[in-house]
């Protein structure tokens, strides 16, 4: 389990530290408080290969072009991430406008758009094993990476953004292969009352697509069933099939109806009960209420809610333990409403 992290020089965070992370950590705070950056740094700080994690952290914010340079608080100053817990690692990241030759060649081979740039990351773990990675970015934030050095200690980590993760058909295939189809169907039926089945169909070009079939045999592409439902399905598919030890989730409630948020809370809680460490960001009081409503003493003991604030570019936080979250619901409401 990851118990804490220290960040310096990433995005808007000049420095910051979060201590005593719990098996189920909830991050709240206003927009721009640094919640998503905490998830990105946990991904880079804990998982392997680091170059891929850096690529994912940068490319998932693709609203503007060439965002690798904005990953740093100051481009000419290296950023640093330290995490501790079951693994202890320190990562130093630097940005360069001109990628190394091998990275540039790969970007050119893949016909990525100029301008290119590169983020290099050196990781050292507690046993002094190190790995150097280089992640090259095209103008559209797509990336390639390479690394050298031996394997370093890591935690299998996944960063889940329910609005833009793996395609549903791919996730569904994993689900079926792992024998969890009925479980997922039951979960979906609780939020789609007339759902009879889920089918993976192909179009005229043999491209797979996931369909919801109702009691009248009417099939609707899941992608058209609404963003909230797609997000819920993506979360459900992922939690049922993945074996990662650390799951980082960006606002799982996005676009969801309160009934769907309730099922999301159940899915999240069950994943933690099965041993997954969860760190999620949220702006939803409904989600927090549902998480508290169904929580037993053991669940509460595993929960911690951090309120984050960015003050003069320093990440500041204050936490509530599980039972305190219940007690302080009113002040949480003030924060979120």
């Amino acid at each position: 389990m990851i118990k804490g992290l220290e960040i310096s020089g990433i995005r808007g965070i000049k420095k910051g530290r979060l201590d005593n992370l719990a098996p189920f950590t909830i991050l709240v705070g206003p927009n721009g408080a640094g919640k998503s950056t905490v998830l990105d740094t946990l991904l880079i700080g804990s998982c392997q290969p680091v170059g891929d994690a850096v690529g994912r952290a940068v490319s998932r914010r693709s609203l503007s072009a060439h965002t690798a340079r904005d990953f740093f608080y100051a481009r000419d100053t290296p950023a640093k991430i330290s995490v501790w817990g079951t693994v202890e690692r320190t990562c130093e990241l630097t940005w360069q406008a001109q990628p190394d030759q091998s990275i540039r060649e790969r970007l050119e081979y893949q016909k990525k758009w100029y301008p290119f740039s590169q983020i290099s990351c050196n990781v050292v773990d507690q046993k002094s094993k190190s790995q150097s990675s280089r992640t090259g970015f095209g103008n559209d934030n797509s990336y390639v990476y390479e690394y050298d050095g031996g394997p370093v200690e890591y935690v299998s980590t996944r960063l889940l953004d329910t609005t833009q993760d793996l395609p549903l058909d791919r996730l569904y295939s994993d689900l079926v292969q792992q024998g969890r189809r009925r479980e997922m169907k039951k979960m979906l039926q609780e939020v789609i009352p007339h759902l009879d089945d889920i089918e993976l169909l192909t179009d005229e070009n043999n491209r797979p697509s996931l369909f919801l079939v109702d009691e009248n045999e009417k099939a609707v592409p899941m992608a058209l069933a609404g963003d909230g439902l797609v997000g819920f399905a993506r979360l459900g598919f992922t939690l049922l099939t993945r074996s990662e030890k650390l799951m980082l989730i960006e606002e799982p409630e996005v676009h969801q109806h309160p009934a769907c948020i309730e099922k999301t809370a159940i899915a999240l809680r069950n994943a933690v009960r099965q041993g997954m460490q969860m760190v999620l960001t949220t702006h939803s009081l409904d989600l927090i209420d549902y998480l508290l409503d169904g929580a037993n003493e053991d669940d509460l003991g595993k929960m911690k809610l951090f309120k984050l604030v960015l003050k003069d570019n320093e990440l500041l936080s204050s936490y509530l333990d599980g039972p305190e979250i219940k007690q302080e619901r009113q002040t949480i409401e003030e924060e979120l409403r």
Binding site: V309, K311, S317, S318, R329, Q330, E333, E334, R337
Partner: protein
Amino acid sequence: MRFEVLCEGYHDRAFWKGLLLHHGYEECRKLDGKKIAGGVYGYRFKDKHSLKVIPCGGKPEIRKKAIIRLRQLDIDPLDHLLINLDPDSEDYSDKPCRDMVKGLLNDSSRKYKEKNGHFLLENRGDMTTISLVVWGTRASGGRYLPGQQTLERLVCSAVLTNYPERGPAVGQFLKAEPHGGKVGPKQFAWSYMAKWAGDRGCEDFFNSVWEDPKLAHTLENLLKETGAWQSVAEILPC
């Protein structure tokens, strides 16, 4: 300036409401751009002071709430935190309450200094003052006042001072109770309240005592006698 008062219950909250409105504060539903939620009451004095009165639901809950509030000072700074307690003892003493505050400050791992009865905490370059307000009165009221030192004793004492004929009437009324149940601070308060604030309810009784100039004057004097006013005055507009 940002102030907060942690009090035990709704009657304390009502008493604070009367006190604050009497001293120039105005009620508000939003502070610092955030809606006041739950049982918290919000007040503002011009654009200078904002204040929240937070009922915690008893002494142990105040302790828990204060520990959490101290933890939050980094992200939500405060100029002054008042911790408001009933000593519940027969004699007036703020020592047990003071010890409780020291205990929770020690538990919070925050460094503090004591100055003129207040606790001063340095917080990222700013200063937060923690003060104690302990209800009760040193006035002797004999059988016409509750024995326990509480908000009820303070209020009943002020009423008795200004309307002494009410004392024997209350004594007689309580004595005549057919079931002979225990007579505690609440029973005294409800009896002093009878008729005068009957249609406004008990909470309004604790609030409306500040609307009577004679009672307000006496209450201030009683609080000055115990030293509690020294802390109250810290959050009042000059």
